[in-house]
Structure formats: C-alpha cells, structure tokens
Amino acid sequence: MIIIKTKFGDRRRLMLLAVGPFLLMSQASAYIDPGTASVVWQFILAVLLGAAFTVRLYWTRIKDAFRKKSDKSEK
C-alpha cells in the first residue's frame, strides 16, 4: 500500500483502502479469460483474508486454552 504523508495522513490511507479496488476496475473483453482477473483479485484479497484467518485461528486457540483452564479449576 502506498503511504501518503500529509497532515491528514491516517485518513488518506483509509480512503485509499476504501476506494482502491474501484480504481482497479476495468472493462470486459471476450478474448481474455475472465479467470485471470479473478487471480489478480485473489492476490489482492489474500493479505486481508489470510490475516483474518490467522487472527481467528489464534483467537480460537486462546479461547480453547482458557476453556481448558476453567474446566480444570472447576474439577
């Protein structure tokens, strides 16, 4: 992601994240396999979805660890 340093720094970065995908839009062509565009799109999503998956995985592990601890203390 490009970081534009201005006095509105953070806000500008957020805007870039929000409108970025729209800027990447393009028109249709019958000769190019539309799947190629999906490949590019998946790479764009990969960072976001990979991070979401990892956060969820660790969050589940933390929850499980606490659950096991509380089960043991109850016994």
Partner: protein, 461 residues
C-alpha cells in the same frame, strides 16, 4: 475409447477422463494424463476422508492400468435421480455451496485443490449434497483457487439473487450453465446487498475485476508464477466465502401454497384419511422403487410414500413449498425424498452443447409410480392443457399412476373459474376416464368421503 463404451454426451470438457454407461451401469475412465494425480490423491487418503464424511460419491476400481490399455476405470455408486441446480430450492443450493467449500478446505489440507466448483458436480444422495466428479482434484501448488470465479458465479450470485430478488432466479442457471456472470449479478442485486462485506468483496468488487487486455492477463500470470498463495490466504478465502453463503437466509415470500393443507378446508379428516389409506394400500402391494410426486405441495403424501419406496422425487412449481419440504426432511432426517422446484407446464428441458449436456425431465428415466393428487384441475383449467395431453405425459413418465380427479363442482375448481370464462365443456369425469383409458388401465377408483373428488389407481397399457 473402448468400442462398447457409450460415452455420455455431457462428459467432454475434462481431459482427465470421461463418464460412460455400459449395461446400465455408470463408469468413469481415467485417462493416462491424470493417472499420476489420481494415485496421489488416492494414496494421500483424501478420497477415503471425503467418502467417510459423505462429501464424495464412493467408487471402486474395476480395471487396473496394465497391458495395452494404460487407463483405469472406476465405478462410482449410481445416484437414483440426477437433479440440477436450477431445480433446487434456496437451501438445497446453499447446502451444495457449503459442501463444495468444505471439500476445498479438506482438499487443501491434503495438498490438493478443486479445479471445478460448479453445481452440476454436486448431486443429492440420501438427502445430502455429494461431489460426483472424482477427478475434480489437482495438486495444489500454492496458487490462487482456479475455480474461485466459477464458484462465485455458480453458487454465490444465484443465492444472493434468490435471497434479495426472487427465489425463482436460480432459473437463470438454465440460460447460464457456467454460472450467472458476476457483472450481471452485481447489477441485479439491490443496494442493500452491498452492505454485506463478503458479498461486496466476492460479487461487486470481484465483478469489477474483469481482464481487459494482455496487460492484465500478463500481470496475472506474473503474479501466478512469481508469488505463492499461502495456505492461510486460501483457507481465509474459503472462510470468507462460507460467511457470505451462511449470511444469506432463505427468502421470505408469501405463498398461498405452503400452508395449503393446514389453512384451507379442502378435505374433511375422513377424506384425508381415506386418501392416505388408498395410497398406502397400493404402495404395500406394488413396492415401487422410485415415485414421482407431481405437484407435491409441501409433501404431505411424499412423506407417506417415502415409507414404502427407495426414493420420492417431489416436484412442485412453488418455491416456498419445496423449500419447506427440504427443511422438514433435513430436520426429521428423512433421506429418501428429493424435493425439486419445477413447473410441470414447462419442465426442465435438455440443455447445453448439442442439447445433450443436461437432460430434460423426460430423459431422466420413468418412475414406477406417479402421484398426481389434486393436480389435474391446475393443468387443465389454469394452464389450458387438454386432458388427453396430461394423460399422454403421465403415460410417458410412469408405469403406474395414482391420480385424483377434481370435478367442476369442487369448490377449488369453482374458485379457479371465478376469474375466467368457463370454456372447459369437456372437463368432466367421463372425458377424464376416456382420455386416461388410452394410456392406462383403470385398476381401482374410490369416491372420497364428503367430497365430489375421485381417486384412481391405474397401470400403464
């Protein structure tokens, strides 16, 4: 190809192998180019795991690769009735989508990926969606999901359209066999669909990502070869698609049919019980394997028939009825009813290349017994279909028939005639018996108690 093999016409796209029919049995020949992958998948335990979880159809190897024929042949277990995504209710399509994502997640954990993700690879078997294309797996080399777009267009877009616009929009899949194009789906969805982040991501923004020229394609190839798609990213993609699908709730549409039996007083308790006993006694004598319940409504009689046969294909044109029956079967663990949404006045046609890829209703075999209960007046009076045409159609699809004749003096027929001119001078019991006698022998007939309706049991001539 072996000379005796009858390759099925829809099995032509994948070079890995093809399906053929021999002596009424289905086989899949695996071509040499896919043998290495087949054995890798087999040896990894992926087939066994998916079959154990009821996500993949079982198969047995019936020939080994030796001698002058290097290919091998597998014999998948036969599915009793082939159905298509454009005939499924919302929840059936949703369950098929979730099963596809589950298969992809499991495949990734074994180092493989699904190379196809369309609804035609899924069939309902014992009430659950299973993958029938055993050759759908490829080695996963940390690349993006090749079937991502196909999944979105085959499942996510039709489900979103069914949810937000009309439950009948799965019928778009008859026109777009490869899936409803993202751009089209995105344009048809209401603005509020954009409030769902997963839908925004996988439909609307994805639709905007369409390749225009070689530059974009080149960029994709460069990314494809140069960068690895991590396992976390792939599982994150599947998780996000699952979220998008799970967030979609069944559409709420007012239907006069989904509580027809409960809210209306068409039958007295005595008449309903008489009808049930009539059907039950015939089923116990006939022992049919496959029954088609045509115009099944919410499946009151499909549920009765299911106790005495291998499979009931329950067909109705009303989505709410089909959805309700599917939900009930799932809840009560009834596995031998396959509810399908189809208008008998315009049943599913043959589709695809040379009109041979997807079979019409008539091509999907005849049944042992058809139930046509309280249906005839809808076909003859609402849809103007001549009685003789109805008899010919039923004679073509079924060896035996239980049919209810609803005469003109019946309050429901009178209701139909309030909004239209009565041009049906030949709609009477004599004409009915005469038309059906051309195709069937009337074996039994009973007048229903407290009603002018008659129920018949017939055998095809």
């Amino acid at each position: 190809m072996n000379k005796t093999e009858a390759k099925i016409s829809g099995s032509y796209k994948d070079p890995s192998g093809y399906v053929f029919i021999e002596d009424g049995q289905v086989f899949r020949r695996i071509n040499e180019c896919y043998l290495d992958t087949y054995f890798l998948v087999k040896d990894s335990g992926l087939f066994k795991d998916l079959i154990g979880k009821r996500l993949l159809i079982e198969h047995e190897e019936v020939s080994e690769n030796k001698g002058d024929d290097p290919n091998i042949i597998i014999k998948p277990r036969m599915i009793d009735f082939i159905s298509y995504p454009y005939e499924w209710s919302f929840s059936q399509l949703k369950d098929a989508a979730l099963a596809t994502l589950k298969i992809q997640r499991i495949a990734i954990s074994y180092g493989f990926t699904l190379k196809d993700a369309h609804g035609f690879n899924i069939q309902f078997d014992d009430g659950v969606p299973v993958l029938i294309d055993t050759l759908s797996f490829d080695r996963w080399e940390h690349t993006p999901w090749v079937a991502y777009r196909q999944f979105c267009e085959s499942f996510l877009v039709p489900l979103a359209l069914m949810r937000y616009r009309s439950p009948y929009l799965n019928n778009l899949l008859t026109r777009f066999l490869n899936g409803v194009p993202l751009e089209m789906g995105s344009g048809m969805l209401p603005l509020r669909a954009r409030l769902s982040i997963p839908l925004l991501m996988h439909v609307h923004l994805h639709a905007g990502r369409k390749a225009t020229d070689g530059k974009d394609a080149y960029a994709s190839m460069k990314l494809n070869t140069g960068r690895k798609f991590s396992e976390e990213a792939m599982l994150g993609l599947c998780m996000s698609l699952e979220k998008a699908i799970q967030n979609l709730r069944p559409p709420k549409v007012d239907s006069i049919w989904d509580d027809y039996y409960q809210s209306s007083c068409i039958y007295s308790n005595a008449a309903f019980e008489q009808k049930r006993q009539f059907i039950d006694s015939i089923l116990q004598g006939l022992l049919p394997s496959i029954i088609w319940d045509l115009g099944c409504n919410t499946g009151e009689f499909s549920l009765i028939a299911a106790g005495n046969c291998d499979l009931v294909v329950a067909i109705d044109s009303d989505h709410a009825c089909v959805e309700r029956l599917y939900q009930q079967c799932k809840r009560d663990k009834i596995t031998n009813i396959l509810p399908l949404q189809m208008d008998l006045v315009n049943p599913s046609p043959a589709l695809g290349w040379n009109l041979q890829e997807r079979l019409s209703l008539l091509e999907r075999g005849e049944c042992d017994l058809a139930l046509a209960l309280a249906l005839i007046h809808h076909l003859c009076i609402s849809a103007n279909i001549p009685m003789e045409y109805v008899a010919r159609f039923l004679g073509r699809v079924s060896r035996h028939l239980i049919i209810e004749f609803v005469p003109k003096e019946d309050p429901q027929v009178q209701l139909l005639l309030t909004s239209r001119e009565d041009i049906f001078t030949d709609y009477n019991r004599e004409a009915f018996e005469s038309a059906f006698s051309k195709y069937f022998r009337i074996l039994q007939a009973e007048q229903l108690a407290d009603s002018s309706r008659t129920i018949y049991y017939m055998g095809r001539l």
